[in-house]
Symmetry: C2
Subunit: 368 residues, 2 copies
């Protein structure tokens, strides 16, 4: 079995251990030879170029993704050429275009923030009017980790973006916390879900994840699972799907965003669950039976390494981290430190959430 991954970032990199362990060959189409997933990069090329992608796909059993940015034209060319593309173009469109997603969720009756497509300052003004004077404005495409997202209180604050086309405007949800429900689905329909997790964001970037989400009500857990299940089925997702959710003060659960691939909210599964999201993604895209999603410990805490030390020297920090936290699981992505960049994460597991959070934070602090 041979899987081809488009994109050479840390998600592709983290698929490598799972592939190696399962005896699956993995090839990566990377942006450069020193991409995070460099050990598996077999082709360096442009994923927006159909010929490059078609050539890469020639000797693999299935194509999957490190990111959601492959153009629909390229995805369709792959499908037309008989390549198994998972998730497929129809599903992926919902992760590529936030307006398409909002429309689809509305049609499915899935709870989400109030939203509108705004095409000019007048329509954004109208949305602000009925939303208490503030709104979140998002570019429908290309945003990630806080990019392409802006909170506005005046319609003209989005003029620059509106010049490029319609935007998504959303109410500012007063949420208690953010959650994520990770689900995997294979083409034959089987679905598996890990426990609901709590995610902590800062500046639009995931900072920490607690698994399972502490002090969740049975209702919130059930609704989150129902939403993720419904989305995965209705969109025909294959592979891992992360559904990012807001939990409101009145215990409603609203869909924030989707990621149609392994996701930061699931990194804890590498060390904290029987089957990691990366192994599960490979199983799912190969249409193999899904593995157990049970946690291996009562609690897992995942803390991202963001930016790294100012002097860029990770290697000198590692021994101190390892000596101080011998049970912490360190993951580094082979990326050059740069302010705000996700360059690694640490997971700690155990019988007590506070202890796990402390251990993971203490480890990551060595990279400050």
């Amino acid at each position: 079995m041979r899987v081809g991954v488009i994109g050479g970032g840390q998600l592709a990199r983290m698929m490598v251990p799972a592939a190696v362990e399962l005896g699956i060959d993995i090839a990566v189409l990377g942006e450069s030879a020193d991409a995070a997933a460099r050990i598996a990069v077999t082709t360096v090329g442009d994923y927006t170029d159909a010929a490059t992608v078609l050539a890469f796909a020639r000797d693999v059993d299935v194509i999957t993704f490190d990111h959601e940015h492959v153009p629909q034209t390229v995805l369709r060319a792959l499908v037309d050429a008989g390549v198994a593309v998972r998730p497929g173009p129809d599903a992926l469109l919902h992760a590529q275009d936030k307006l398409v997603l909002r429309r689809k969720l509305e049609q499915l009756g899935i709870p989400q923030p109030a939203w509108a497509e705004v095409v000019d300052a007048a329509s954004l003004d109208a949305f602000l009017e009925r939303s208490g004077g503030r709104a979140v404005v998002k570019t429908p495409r290309g945003g990630y980790d806080g990019h392409g997202v802006r909170v506005v209180s005046d319609a003209h604050e989005a003029d620059d973006w509106l010049a490029d086309g319609p935007l998504l405007a959303e109410e500012l949800v007063g949420f208690r916390r953010e959650l994520a429900q990770l689900v995997a689905r294979r083409p034959s329909g089987e679905i598996a879900m890990w426990p609901l997790v709590e995610t902590v964001q800062g500046d639009g970037v995931c900072r920490e994840v607690f698994a399972p989400a502490p002090r969740s009500t049975a209702r919130v857990e059930r609704v989150s699972r129902e939403i993720a299940h419904a989305v995965a089925e209705a969109l025909g997702v294959t592979g891992v799907l992360a559904v990012e959710l807001f939990e409101t003060d009145d215990e409603r659960v609203l869909v924030n965003e989707l990621a149609m691939r392994p996701h930061n909210s699931g990194h804890w599964t590498i060390d904290g669950a029987v089957t990691s999201q990366f192994e599960q993604h490979l199983r799912a895209v190969l249409d193999l039976p899904l593995g157990s999603t049970l946690p291996i410990a009562p609690w897992s805490a995942m803390v991202n390494v963001l930016g790294g030390p100012a002097d860029g020297d990770l290697d000198s920090r590692v021994p101190h981290l390892m000596a101080d936290q011998p049970a912490a699981k360190l993951h580094l992505y082979g990326k050059t430190p740069r302010p705000g960049r996700k360059i690694g994460h640490v997971t700690a597991t155990g019988d007590d959430l506070d202890d796990a959070v402390f251990a993971a934070r203490a480890a990551v602090a060595f990279f400050d």
Copy 2:
């Protein structure tokens, strides 16, 4: 950090996930481009050729091994060239030459089977005489997985081997079971040990491992740890060392063999311990602080996949295995099935040893 591994078998392959996760670059000098560790093979060449090995070692921080067969002349050439070689030639010699090992253990006062160096039929006859008429005869070098081992009751049964040089003769130990104590040691002296395990052999090949070794007395556990600790220190081992032991009916613990690298008896640690033997080996050879060796579950059972299906078709078996045992951890080495060949293993963990053993055996049975 960059580690170079000589040898491209499954042990090198299983170092890859650990390296990728820790952010360590790994390069492998493989026997062929389609070696088990092919994803990390950067050089295809002959590990007995000093020039090849020196060239491979040029851009790595440390050299370590998938096997113990690199000639001493090549190891010394590396050391002379200023390359960090771990474990070093002096330590490795004890894993390469069983007579050297027996002499060293005797000198250290470490319990082992009665033994003798035999140079001809007469000296073997003398050993048989004082050993009840039967003995195990071993070629001092090059044996593995039952090769180079023979039980004889007549001195002339070893004539062919004696023509090539001295042999090691050992008493046939009446043992209750076989154990293995895995230990890691870094150059700065830090040592970490996983729990003692029971190994089940058949035809000289490891079949199953139970961790921790069930129903062990505190004395057997303590003595096994003391032996492994003493051997690792006295030999100056760096990296993982497996000490294979006999437990006798009268609760003595005798050293059978050593492996100076990750070992089949430690494969359970990938899924069953906080730090796997492969991660620990990388930490140790890079002189990084060692990770926690605690099990993540009360019991782990590891069962080897030996040979594989007669039709050689592993892929068609995998879905059935995964569907039947969703919590079993499957490891395939990317090797072609061949009778008796180690091509993978399955580990199951849990609160009950019998359940774990059942799950791992049930999974492996799909490859029959």
